[in-house]
Amino acid sequence: MKPTLRVEDLHHTYLAGTPFEAVSLQGVDMEVAEGEIVSIIGPTGSGKSTLIQHFNALIRPQAGRVIVLGQDLGDADLDVKWLRRHVGMIFQSPEQQLFEQYVGDDIAFGPRNFGLDRQEVRRRVQKAMHTVGLDFEGFKDRLTFTLSGGEMRKVAMAGVLALEPSILVLDEPTCGLDPVTSNDLLCRILELRNNHGTTIVLVSHDMESVVRVSDRIYVIVDGRTVLEGTPREVFPEAELLRSHGLEAPQITQVMCGLRNQGLDVPVDLLSVREAEEEICRCFGFAETQVE
C-alpha cells in the first residue's frame, strides 16, 4: 500500500552553529501506511518528539525528506494550514491545553477557526465527543475546570478529532491515567482506525499500551531507527531493547524467561491468552480450566 506518511533519512540539529548545538535526529527512515497504527518507542532524549513535530510542520526538515499525504514538507510553498487540518497532534498532557470555559466551546474551537459553518461545527463536535466516549448533552455545557483528568484528556482529544484529521499523532496518550481509563482510551484509538480509517502514530513509554494497539513499531535510539517491525518481531529482542533502556511487555518477558531456562516455547507471544495456551501445552496442564 502507498504510504500516507514517509520519512527519508531525516536529520535535525538544534541550535546548529552555536556552542549549544545538539544533534537530535541523524538519519531516521519510516513509513506509515493508510489506516495503520504505528508506535514509536525509544529512551528519553532519543528524538521521538522532534520526529513527530515534523509531521504537521512544526519543524521543517533540515536534511532528508518528510512526505505526508503526498506533500513534501520541505517545500517552501507548503500549505501549512491545510496540513494541520489533516494531521492532528495530541501532545503530552493535552488537558493542560484546555482554555475555554465550556467543554463544547473548547472542542468547537478548531473547526470554528477553520471557518466551518455553525451546523457543521455542531455536527463535528457531536461526532468527536461520541468517538471519545463523552455524552454530548451531558458534557457540552460542563465547565472544563471541573472535569477529572481523564475527562479533560478526552475533551482535548475530541478538540483535535473535531478537525477530522486523516492522520492522528499522539504523544504519551495514557501517561498518568488509571488502568481502566487508559484501557478505554486505547479502545477508542482502535475504533478510530477501525471505523474511520484514521492513520495513527503513537509515542509511548508504556509497552503494555504499545503492545495492545500497534500494527508496527519503530525503535528510535540516538536519532536513528534501530529496529522496525510488528510487535511480534520487535518485542522478543529483549537484549537489544534492554540495552537501549527499553523493555518488552510482561508476557513476552515471561516467555523469554522460560526460553532462557531451556524450555522449548515460542517467545513472540503478546497476549495473556496465547501465553496461557503455549505454557499449558509445554507443561502438559489440563485442557480446560479446573472449576
Binding site: 525509544g42 532524549g45 471541573t146 523493555e247 508476557i251 515471561v254
Partner: protein
C-alpha cells in the same frame, strides 16, 4: 510514623459547589513501611499525599506525623523536613544550575552548617547513584536522572519519610527501573516510603498496598492479598499486572501453581519448579 484519623478534605469549601475529595480516611503507617497507594483518577490519592507534609490541612479530622499534628503551625518547618515529597514532573522541582547545588538547596535553607551540607550532599547523591554527575547542569540530564536528583535533594534533608506522587509516570522504562531501584534501597535503609502510582507492576514493589476510591480507603493489605482480588480491583477502576493475570489463569488449569504471583521472575521460577510429565521433559 504517620497516623491519620477521620480525615475529611473538601476543595472549594467556600464556593457554591464544594468538592469533597477525602471522606473519613483512617490510616496508620509504621516506620520503615513501603506503602503504595493506587486508585483511579480523582480517587483522592494526591490529596491524601499532600496532607502528609501539611501542603493541605484537614477540613475535618487529624494527621499526626511522628506525634505532631500537622494543623499546629509551630511544627510546620519540622514536618517539611520529616516528610519529603517528590512529584511527577522532575523539572518543576529542580532549582539550581548545578546538580550538587540543587541537592544542597534544602539543607542550606534548613541552616545546616557548611561542612555537614557537603557530607549530606555526598551521601544523598551517592544514595541515588548520581555522584558522577554532580557538576553537571540538571537540565542536561535525562528525565530519570533528573528525578533521581530530585529525590537526592529531598534526601539531603534527611527525612524519615519519602512521598513519591507518580514520580515515575513521565519516565522511560530504564528511568523507571533506576528510580525504583533507588526507592528500594532507601526503603532497605529504613526510610518510610509512600508511593502513588498508576503502574500496577510498580504497586507490587511495596510491603503494603492501599487502594483509594471516591476519597475513601477501599482496600488495604500486602500486595499478594490485594492483587489476589482481580474482580474487586476492576470494580475500583484498576487492574492486575498482565503477569498476575496469566498466573491466575494458569493456576485454574494447574492448581499446583501458587496464586497470586506478582512478578515475571516469580512466575518463571514457579513454572520451572513444577514437576512435568516425563514425555514432555526435554
Amino acid at each position: 510514623m504517620i497516623t491519620i484519623e477521620h480525615l475529611h478534605y473538601t476543595y472549594d469549601l467556600d464556593r457554591p459547589r464544594p468538592v469533597p475529595a477525602l471522606r473519613d480516611v483512617c490510616l496508620h503507617i509504621d516506620k520503615g513501611e513501603y506503602v503504595v497507594i493506587i486508585g483511579r483518577n480523582g480517587s483522592g490519592k494526591s490529596t491524601l499525599a499532600k496532607h502528609l507534609n501539611a501542603l493541605l490541612l484537614p477540613t475535618q479530622g487529624d494527621v499526626w506525623i511522628e506525634g505532631k499534628n500537622t494543623k499546629d503551625p509551630q511544627h510546620l518547618a519540622t514536618l517539611r523536613h520529616t516528610v519529603g515529597m517528590v512529584f511527577q514532573v522532575p523539572d518543576n522541582q529542580l532549582v539550581a544550575t548545578v546538580v550538587e547545588e540543587d541537592v544542597a538547596f534544602g539543607p542550606e535553607n534548613m541552616g545546616v552548617p557548611r561542612g555537614e551540607i557537603e557530607e549530606r550532599v555526598n551521601e544523598a547523591l551517592d544514595g541515588v547513584d548520581m555522584i558522577a554527575h554532580r557538576h553537571r547542569p540538571p537540565h542536561m540530564l535525562s528525565a530519570g536522572q533528573k528525578q533521581r536528583v530530585g529525590i537526592a535533594g529531598v534526601m539531603a534533608m534527611r527525612p524519615s519519610c519519602l512521598v513519591l506522587d507518580e514520580a515515575t509516570a513521565m519516565l522511560d522504562p530504564q528511568g523507571r527501573r533506576d528510580v525504583l531501584d533507588t526507592v528500594r534501597r532507601l526503603s532497605r535503609q529504613g526510610v518510610t516510603i509512600v508511593a502513588i502510582t498508576h503502574f500496577m507492576c510498580e504497586a507490587v514493589e511495596g510491603t503494603r498496598v492501599v487502594v483509594m476510591d471516591e476519597g475513601s480507603i477501599a482496600m488495604d493489605g500486602p500486595p499478594r492479598e490485594v492483587f489476589g482480588q482481580p474482580t474487586r480491583l476492576l470494580e475500583l477502576g484498576l487492574d492486575v499486572p498482565p503477569v498476575t493475570q496469566l498466573a491466575q489463569r494458569l493456576h485454574q488449569r494447574q492448581p499446583a501453581l501458587p496464586n497470586p504471583l506478582l512478578t515475571v521472575q516469580e512466575l518463571v521460577d514457579e513454572l520451572c519448579g513444577l514437576p512435568r510429565p516425563a514425555e514432555l521433559r526435554t
